[in-house]
């Protein structure tokens, strides 16, 4: 018999529908929010009960984090967009509830006639105008640009300077010298960081990750089966994703209330291991401000103090961070040196270190790794890995 530990463990408790027609003009967001609100009410629940939102991945539907924001859901910890049709989303939602990724999941499917689906749809000027929803205007605070905007706010609110950001880059480039997989393997100085060409002030060339080519892959199986395989087991101890309610990046509440705080709290509540147990710390550095955010929001230091924390734990001999003289920060060089792996490099480095295979950058006796991936808005993520 096949393994089925989830058998009879998860239930459907609410349903909602707008009904279906082929003449309506409402947006996918309007339809999805109505069905979602109906289903939550049908279940006898409210916005504060929902901590998971799963999309069936229909092309015009709002993204799960957008739907969550439109419904005013805060502290959502599981919100993937799956592949159409519905059962991928249903199975994902089941697994999420069973595993504890979320306690109560909203699954939504909103279908919408695009202009090439029917003559009626083609006659609707709004459907002909259908776009990806990304403005081409220079006056954008969306997506990647938002990190520059909130970096400006960080420096203003806490009275810090760009040197705090620069420490992240100098550390990454020093570590990159020891990683044969890295795109950039030469170190830099603070002066080189500060004199790099400005792109979007306060960010210059060296505040942003390195666009690169490459691939990573991972194999997962049960801990039981892992014991029979060649390498020391690297166990996935606790994980979380998290978003706070904000419909657009420029509407984020503030620097003390965003997705990193949702992840930090949830990960800590799930884990037997925390900062004092961490041997390898791998915070995302797609933009330097993200790393300062993770250092502060995971609790290594207080708000606005990450620059001072990095200086306090700076190892002058190797020109990089060693927390308490021992724990490196992105020993593989992160996205600023290894390249923009979109998170996979941090997970690969965690596994490599916990296997004891990291050669001249190996942390002696490494047993626990803390990976904090993604940024402030829709994609903050945390993972704790350990050896047996």
């Amino acid at each position: 018999m096949a393994r089925n530990p989830i058998k009879d463990q998860v239930a459907i408790v609410g349903i909602g529908s707008t009904g279906f027609d082929r003449h309506g003009r409402r947006t996918p967001a309007s339809l999805a929010t109505e069905a979602a609100a109906s289903a939550i009410r049908d279940a006898g629940l409210t916005a504060k009960d929902i901590d998971g939102v799963v999309s069936t991945g229909e092309p015009a539907a709002p993204a799960p984090q957008q739907l969550a924001a439109m419904l005013g859901l805060s502290d959502v910890t599981h919100y993937p967009k799956t592949t159409p049709v519905v059962m991928f989303a249903l199975i994902d939602a089941m697994n999420a509830v069973f595993s504890g990724s979320a306690d109560t999941v909203l699954l939504y499917n909103s279908v919408y006639r695009l202009p090439w689906n029917s003559r009626g749809a083609a006659a609707d000027p709004f459907r002909r105008h259908y776009t990806t929803g990304v403005s081409a205007s220079p006056e954008s605070m969306s997506n990647a640009v938002a990190y520059t905007g909130w970096a400006s706010r960080y420096l203003h609110e806490y009275g810090r300077t760009r040197e705090d950001l620069g420490l992240v880059t100098v550390n990454a480039r020093s570590n990159g010298t020891r990683n044969p997989l890295a795109t950039l393997r030469d170190p830099i100085t603070m002066d080189e960081y500060l004199s790099a060409r400005m792109i979007r002030e306060p960010f210059g060339m060296l505040d942003m990750d390195i666009p690169t080519d490459g691939a990573d892959a991972f194999i997962l199986t049960t801990a039981e089966r892992a014991r029979d395989l060649p390498h020391p087991s690297v166990l996935l101890h606790a994980s979380s994703t998290g978003t706070a309610a904000c419909l657009a990046e420029d509407q984020l509440i503030d620097l003390q209330h965003h997705g990193q705080h949702v992840v930090a709290k949830n990960l800590r509540d799930k884990s037997d291991l925390w900062l004092e147990d961490t041997d390898v710390f791998l915070p995302y550095d797609g933009f330097t401000i993200i790393t300062l955010g993770w250092i502060e929001n995971l609790g290594w230091c207080g708000p606005g103090e990450a620059g001072d924390f990095l200086r306090e734990h700076w190892d002058k001999d190797t020109d990089r961070v060693l927390i308490n003289g021992r724990v490196p920060l992105n020993p593989h060089g992160g996205a600023l040196a290894e390249g923009a792996t979109r998170g996979s490099g941090y997970v690969r480095e965690a596994v490599t270190q916990l296997r004891g295979d990291a050669a001249d950058r190996q942390v002696e006796g490494a047993r626990t790794a803390l990976v904090a991936s993604g940024g402030f808005f829709f994609n903050p993520q945390g993972l704790i890995l350990r050896t047996e």
């Binding site: 003009r25 439109m70 005013g72």
Partner: protein, 160 residues
């Protein structure tokens, strides 16, 4: 849908802002631009403002969301000087960095609108400065921007 308050049709709005993502939930914002009024979404039931436009109020789940004119006054909350970025009529990065500012509006804590700030050398702009709304022509259609305005009352401003 809210009652239309101007003579501009849906097609007018879509044609005048061809590269802007506009749908039935957001079109009143851009219809307002054509008559140089900044209309943001406000819940008719609970009074809560939200932006960008969404079909329902995130606070109370009412679908009775009314595009409502804001004063356009506020303070700079986020500020970027863009040295290289998306092209637009009237924006020339070779002449110097182009400021992009998110302004916290006086109407509600956390209600913000992002545009540029005109009439001031970019290097003199700072987070916390008071601004007012202005309108410029961009590609033949009105476009909302901000200018420094020390007369905006500090007491009326949130988040400075």
């Amino acid at each position: 849908m809210p009652e239309r308050t101007t003579q501009f049709t849906d097609t007018d709005v879509l044609e005048r802002y061809p590269s802007t993502p506009i749908d039935l939930d957001s079109i009143e914002l851009y219809r307002g631009w054509l008559e140089e009024r900044l209309l943001l979404s406000r819940c008719a039931e609970c009074g809560h403002w939200h932006h960008p436009p969404a079909p329902l109020c995130p606070k109370c789940w009412s679908f009775d969301v009314v595009p409502t004119e804001v004063s356009g006054q506020g303070t700079i909350h986020l500020l970027i000087l863009v040295h290289q970025g998306a092209p637009a009529p009237g924006v020339d990065y070779t002449e110097g960095p182009h400021p992009v500012a998110t302004v916290e509006l006086v109407e509600q804590v956390g209600l913000r609108f992002t545009s540029t700030v005109i009439g001031c050398p970019p290097e003199d702009l700072r987070i916390g400065q008071s601004v007012s709304l202005a309108w410029v022509d961009r590609g033949g259609a009105p476009y909302p921007v901000f200018h420094l305005d020390p007369s905006v009352e500090a007491g009326a401003v949130h988040g400075s």
